[in-house]
């Protein structure tokens, strides 16, 4: 059962071969068994999960239900969920039981999906290794010495270790794609505005986007059908017709033009990753795709641009964590400012503080034009690069990250080294494009490699099609780690 696709699980549930309660119990037992070692979940609440599963079974008994009703889903602990502790990986929200639910959660609940638990993450989604969680680092299931990637490391690990059939994630600078790549699973970051940000705790509002993380492109398409949709409560949510992201899965790839940005294959890309990516491109050619070299000349500038814009927005977004209405309040302090300063010093971890301080600085008096405005102009240059590229190709392909997963602790003292590893993922967020990670093999140390596919705006169905066809022809996505 744990290897089953969502389609298979849905069929089994529909045929009453298994109940939602039985399914949830099986995954809960696995999650409980392995969470000690992997630390993929911050919160597991058997009672709540089984109550939701029971409700799903009753709904099915009472009439027709949605295609994913009764299937367990692990939610990144960034989506507010009423009645569930929602920590965002932070001590600041260590005791925060949300009084309301995110749009994504509402949609999943309405579709009858069962909340399996709340997955670990880098604090406030800031990080690429999941070592920045107040609740401890997550382990990569392929190698206990490796990081799972971040910030959606808990979701990636949960799916890779088959503790959950599917999970939600968010991606601000690569936080779905990079952990998906490091853990050998499939994940998609949709076009900005496709998934509502309402109730999704903000890191960098103009970049944040929720998306599914699953065993396959097909599974991701099915969950994206649930997660996506217009929401009037998010002013950046796009009012578009509902679409079926699985509609093009079976389309042949003949004639697909794949663009390979030369900047993504330049110095800095590890050889083992390059080899796996090359092999995947070869597979695509076999499937009928044509390949063209393209250029994204401002790729390198994505790092400075992102590390101005994201911290700037974050410094403001995280000001609400002041210990007044919810969240951590220090026990000892003097006066109002003492309360603020002490509560925030205790409640936030160092990466979060660094980004708040960086953001505060770049927005502060006298530096705005030099930093923030300049970063926004470069953001435009980067978005323009992609548009020029899409005149030559339908999909851009390249690595998700320059290397496979690094070792726990390897970069934790060096934030800049960690930032540089985001080079291939940041541009997509700055431009607001959809992109995904597809497992395409393993590096020299046996750690997974992910291929990044980037599409133009609203081309999710095309990306998922490209990934699905690859997965029909290969079995990388079915490989599982030994636990």
């Amino acid at each position: 059962m744990i290897e089953s696709s969502l389609k298979q699980l849905a069929a089994a549930l529909a045929a009453k071969q298994i109940s939602a309660v039985e399914l949830a119990t099986e995954f809960l037992n696995r999650a409980e068994q392995y969470n000690g070692a992997l630390n993929a979940f911050i919160t597991l609440d058997k009672q709540k999960t089984l109550a939701e599963a029971l409700a799903a079974d009753q709904a099915r008994a009472n009439g027709p239900v949605g295609p994913l009703a009764g299937i367990p889903v692990a939610h990144k602990d960034i989506f507010c969920q009423e009645g569930w502790r929602t920590t965002c990986g932070s001590k600041m929200l260590g005791n925060f039981v949300s009084p309301y639910s995110a749009h994504v959660i509402e949609q999943c609940r309405a579709a009858g999906l069962v909340t399996l638990g709340r997955t670990n993450m880098d604090e406030f989604a800031m990080g690429s290794s999941n070592e920045n969680s107040y609740f401890g680092a997550v382990k990569n299931p392929w190698d206990g010495a490796a990081v799972p990637g971040g910030s959606s490391g808990g979701s990636a690990t949960a799916v890779a270790a088959r503790l959950a059939p599917i999970a939600t994630g968010t991606d601000t600078g690569g936080s779905i794609r990079q952990p998906a790549s490091f853990c050998g699973i499939t994940g998609i970051k949709p076009t900005y505005g496709v998934v509502s940000r309402f109730g999704m705790i903000a890191y960098a509002s103009s970049l944040d986007q929720g998306g599914p993380m699953g065993k396959s492109a097909e599974d991701c398409a099915l969950l994206l059908n649930v997660m996506a949709g217009f929401d009037a409560r998010d002013a950046t949510s796009l009012a578009r017709e509902r679409e079926d992201y699985a509609r093009d899965l079976d389309r042949p790839l003949a004639g697909l033009r794949i663009g390979l940005p030369k900047e993504y294959f330049a110095e800095g890309l590890a050889q083992d990753v390059a080899a796996a990516i090359d092999a995947a491109i070869g597979e695509y050619k076999k499937l009928g795709a044509t390949v063209v070299e393209i250029s994204l000349p401002n790729t390198k500038l994505a790092i400075p641009s992102y590390y101005v814009i994201a911290p700037a927005e974050a410094s403001s977004n995280l000001s609400r964590f002041d210990g007044v209405r919810y969240g951590h309040r220090a026990a000892q302090f003097e006066g109002l400012n003492g309360m603020y300063e002490q509560s925030r010093a205790e409640g936030f971890g160092w990466e979060v503080k660094r980004r708040i301080l960086t953001g505060t600085y770049v927005l502060s008096h006298g530096y705005y034009d030099a930093y923030y405005l300049q970063a926004q102009k470069i953001r435009r240059l980067i978005a323009n690069d992609f548009q020029a590229a899409f005149e030559q190709c339908d999909v851009i392909a390249g690595p998700v990250a320059p290397t496979t997963a690094w070792n726990l602790g390897e970069k934790s003292d060096d934030p800049v080294a960690m930032y540089l590893a985001d080079i291939y993922t940041l541009g997509v967020n700055l431009a607001g494009l959809p992109a995904m990670s597809v497992p395409v093999g393993f590096g020299s140390t046996g750690r997974p490699v992910g291929l990044q596919l980037i599409g133009n705006y609203f081309s999710e169905a095309r990306l998922l099609n490209a990934a699905h066809q690859f997965q029909l022809a290969t079995d990388w996505h079915t490989r599982t780690p030994e636990l």
Partner: protein, 475 residues
């Protein structure tokens, strides 16, 4: 040294919407603390703002009313600072691209018109309130007001006296209540003024360093606070000191201003465009719709009053202090009252009584029709002016029509020549000295005698007729 005072105003007007600017919580005043707060208003993690259309529409109305440019594209920005009544740690406001730019308002001080130019008007959210009473320790935060839509209206520093500043505030107040974008309830904080004050030696081109007096919610306080601030700044400079830029509060009890503590890093608000809110785009068609629905504005109405009713400009300005007052005036004239008499009565006895009783014209017990009824009796000489004042008082108190009171109390003016003649004869007989004076060329001597005739008639004699008779008999 002669000092020149330079004043600019930033006025926060609460817009009359049902719901908040970025949430569906109610804006009604006076509810139990924190019962009118949506997830956005208490800034729960993940909560997002959604813009209220009515607030935008009211900003457009204002822009059109002051002849300003309504920007077709404006941008919401975050103003970042920490304060417990500001739940997000930033206020959503507008910075580089406000919704309204430019425009002007004409004020009148001591009979002289002066045009005050406006810099801009922008939309923003109000903060919550701090409460100190009834708590064991500390300060309580009520976020019911947080997110109430505000239009912040910023003037150029073009006022040169407290009187001008007050006249500007009053003109602005009259306008925003006139077009109905603000309820004008100053006690509830619907119209709050921040006043920037600086002084400079007369003739100097550069401005002096300004201090900002925050949150004045009465015209009287504006006047007092400016006076106190000007005094402070001039004394400081004359004593060899330098004015430091500061945000100050006015204490009405002591009549003094003092610097606020919480605004130490106020100069670094780290404004940037709010990523949660795309640019506000206002189409031509929307602006035209608002323009065509706009009521006649005070200035236009004043011109019309002078032209149509032939009243002095001063009267026209006074009568258009509020839309209700102007409507009352027009209805009085429409009911048959002479335009100038109606103006005199409304600006005189009616306003005085309303002021004394702290009532608004809409609460006047004497309707415009009733007032016209009274004025008509003056016009047709049924009663004289003095009697009319008494009748009005009785109308006010008893709610009766003028005719009913005149009839009941027998106040009809005496126009029977014979009856008045008898009184005139008696008065002349008792005042031979006055007759002498009149005959020797002192015209005014007879005026005193008119008063005696009136007294003798119990106020009912027609004074003009009495004078005529006196002249005839003496002449």
């Amino acid at each position: 040294m002669k000092w020149e005072v330079v004043i600019g105003l930033e006025v926060h007007t609460q817009l009359t919407t049902q719901s908040k600017i970025f949430s569906g919580a109610s804006t009604a005043f006076g509810a139990e603390p924190n019962t009118q707060t949506a997830v956005v208003d208490i800034a729960l993690p993940g909560a997002l703002p959604v813009m209220n259309k009515a607030a935008v529409e009211k900003a457009i109305q204002f822009g059109l009313a002051i002849g300003a440019k309504v920007n077709r594209r404006s941008v919401f920005a975050r103003k970042n600072y920490f304060y417990p009544d500001l739940p997000k740690g930033y206020q959503i406001s507008q910075f580089e691209l406000p919704v309204v730019e430019g425009g002007a308002i004409t004020i009148n001080v001591d009979g002289v018109d002066k045009v005050i130019n406006l810099t801009r008007a922008h939309l923003e959210e109000d903060a919550g309130k701090s409460v100190h009473e009834g708590l064991h320790d500390g300060t309580g935060i009520d976020l019911n007001r947080a997110g109430t839509p505000l239009l912040e209206i910023v003037s150029e520093p073009e006022m040169r006296s407290a009187a001008e500043a007050v006249a500007y505030a009053k003109a602005l107040y009259s306008l925003v209540t006139w077009i109905g974008i603000c309820d004008g309830n100053m006690q509830e904080g619907s119209f709050r003024c921040d006043v920037n004050v600086s002084v400079r030696p007369q003739g100097q081109a550069e401005f002096g360093t300004r201090r900002e007096i925050k949150n004045l919610n009465s015209f009287k306080f504006i006047e007092q606070a400016i006076a106190a601030e000007v005094r402070y700044q001039i004394e400081l400079i004359e004593d060899g000191g330098k004015v430091q830029q500061a945000t100050v509060l006015f204490n009405p009890d002591t009549g003094e201003t003092r610097a606020m503590r919480s605004k130490e890093d106020a100069h670094d608000y780290r404004y940037f465009p709010d990523p949660d809110l795309p640019p506000l785009v206002i189409g031509e068609d929307w602006i035209e719709r608002v323009r065509s629905a706009l009521p006649e504005l005070p200035a236009t109405m004043q011109t019309r009053f002078v032209g149509v009713y032939g009243i002095p400009a001063y009267d026209a300005v006074t009568l258009t202090a509020s839309k209700a007052l102007a409507a009352y005036y027009e209805a009085t004239v429409a009911a048959g009252a002479d335009a100038k008499l109606a103006s005199n009565w409304i600006m005189g006895d009616i306003s005085a009584t309303l002021n004394r009783e702290e009532k608004d014209i809409s609460a006047s017990p004497v309707s415009s029709e009733a007032l016209a009824g009274l004025i008509k009796r003056v016009m047709d000489s049924t009663i004289n002016n003095k009697t009319a004042k008494d009748v009005l008082r009785k109308m006010w108190d008893e709610g009766l029509a003028a005719d009913a009171i005149i009839e009941r109390d027998g106040l009809k003016q005496e126009t029977d020549t014979g009856a008045i003649e008898a009184i005139v004869d008696a008065v002349l007989a008792a005042n031979p000295k006055a007759i002498e004076e009149y005959r020797s060329g002192k015209e005014k001597a007879l005026n005193a005698l008119v008063g005696q005739v009136m007294k003798g008639s119990g106020g009912k004699a027609n004074p003009a007729m009495a004078l005529e008779l006196l002249k005839k008999k003496v002449g």
